[in-house]
Amino acid sequence: MRDKFLLAFRSIRARRTRSILTVLGIAVGIAAIVSLMSVGYGMEEAITGELTGMADIISVMPGKIMGATYVEMGGFTDRDVKDLQRIGGIKDISAMTYDAVEVEYRNERKPTFVLGGDTKELESFYVEPVGLKEGRWLRENDYKGCVIGDRVANDFFDEVIHVNDKLVINGEKFIVIGAFEKGDMLYANDVDRNIFLTLRAAKEVLQTEEIKHIIVRVYDIDEAEEIAEEIEETINDNHGLDDFATAMTMGSMLEQIGDIFNIIRGVLVGIAAIALIVASIGIMNTMLMSVMERTHEIGVMKAIGAKSRDVLSLFLLESSMVSLVGGVAGCLLGWGVAKGLSFIGSTASGLEIAAIVKPGVLLGGIAVALIVGVLSGFYPARKASKMSPVEAVRYG
């Protein structure tokens, strides 16, 4: 056995250029599969990971979703909030209000949105996932303080707004005590163009007692759907309409996003399948060539007394060694490419996408290299070993 390895190794080394090319051909194919799948997993994880962290949330809005548009029906009242507190299984309730406002900064006026709510709730909903770039978050008694989204700070006005700068919102003065990081995919619209106030300050600035958004947290995620229905009924009863409120669980939001996901996943699987086919054809081609080139050698071996299976086992050993090296090299290369792609992707889009290189994908890559490599080496080797020695010796 040791001699077989030595013999196979000899012939691989003696045909250095051909062997390197074969290994390279296999490696590139495997790298394509590994990197694409890893980036795909990374994208999926980036989106679902964030959403599943908020699976206990029910978002309640005073309006209904009709197709792709949201139609606002009015606002919630304090009574709605009180009634919700009587529903079982709810951990806490946070009422928010928001509306369009006009903001003035150094004599420049721009339209934007104000969002006010329980500071603790807003903190867990916005500050924890997005993070602050500057300053600190609001406290309940920061009645004249505000925290601003990234676009408000950097894009809206000619001059960039920093902590301690003063803004005038609908005629009232506020001092900036914090600024958000740029929101990522999901939070971008919510966070970046908003100015966050305490609920009390927001109600005053917007001159309304109406609540535009209620966020409910439940104890048991499995009950979320039921509780959401109960919330809708309770509020609809209060307002005497049967479709005043829309309560959406994260689960149902996930489902909606899930469709998009299935498309992305389908595309990725398609690309991986194409990569697999291209890789397999490449591996087959190089293996076929490198074994066929040696029909003469196979003939000589048979002429001096080798049985077909002696020849076959030698060539199988050789092609599995080459395939294994190619597979491992391909995995390393694919790993590197995946990391590189996700780095370029992240810096270009500002989204946090970390490629996820799963051990299963690496093992699969090596398995594909071995299976395709050995099978495509096996076919010409078997054909050559079945030839009569004279025929094979004459070859080439």
Partner: protein, 220 residues
């Protein structure tokens, strides 16, 4: 003893049939040194390939030591080639990725011999053909005559009774060819049967018996 019985080989290429051998009946005794001569295309190589079990006849039979080789399986034929016959080609047909020692040891590897035994014997055989100081050289680093001597050492590795050479001196110069013939004569004196095809009358003259071929037939 080697005996052929109505040995016939027809090559078929599409519509065209080539009668390479026609009903050849030939007997070669143990320890004989026989030379086969004849014009190009007369069927000399075809005959040697059939005797050497490298190819199968269209009809007729080859008996080696009383065994009808036509009745043997692929593996059985491989064993005959490995144990009873040493074949020497005009083009040497050495494995160019292996050095002299490994080339000579290869048939013993297929015979399942131990590594140490193989290497020892390969070294002895290389010394016997005058390549004792070339054992680690690759074929490409040697002259044609030296390569053919390496091929003879390889042919001898499983100690066969029969040595078959298809124009073994065809690709090397006269001087080196004489050395090859000396070696073959020596092997014949050891009791081995030697069958050689040649175009060289001088070489044919050194054989114990000469047979002439024409149009696929062995002449009397």
């Amino acid at each position: 003893m080697i005996r052929t019985e109505n040995l016939t080989k027809v090559y078929r290429m599409g519509e065209v049939e080539v009668q390479a051998l026609r009903d050849v009946n030939l007997e070669i005794q143990d320890s004989e040194f026989i030379a086969i001569i004849g014009p190009s295309g007369s069927g000399k190589s075809t005959l040697l390939n059939l005797i050497g079990c490298l190819d199968k006849p269209t009809s007729g039979a080859v008996f080696i030591d009383g065994i009808d080789t036509g009745k043997l399986s692929e593996n059985g034929l491989a064993e005959i080639r490995r144990e009873k016959i040493g074949f020497i080609f005009q083009q040497f047909n050495l494995i160019h990725t292996l050095n002299a020692l490994e080339n000579v040891a290869l048939p013993m590897f297929f015979a399942g011999m131990r590594h140490e035994t193989r290497m020892e014997r390969a070294e002895e055989l290389l010394a016997k053909v005058g390549l004792g100081d070339r054992i680690h050289h690759k074929p490409s680093e040697l002259s044609g005559g030296e390569q053919q001597r390496m091929a003879i050492a390889r042919a001898l590795s499983n100690d066969p009774e029969i040595i078959i050479g298809d124009e073994p001196t065809g690709n090397i110069d006269t001087e080196a060819g004489k050395v090859i013939m000396d070696i073959l004569e020596g092997l014949n004196r050891e009791g081995r049967t030697i069958i050689v095809v040649t175009h060289d009358a001088e070489i044919a003259a050194r054989a114990g018996r000469t047979k002439r071929m024409r149009d696929g037939k062995v002449l009397d």
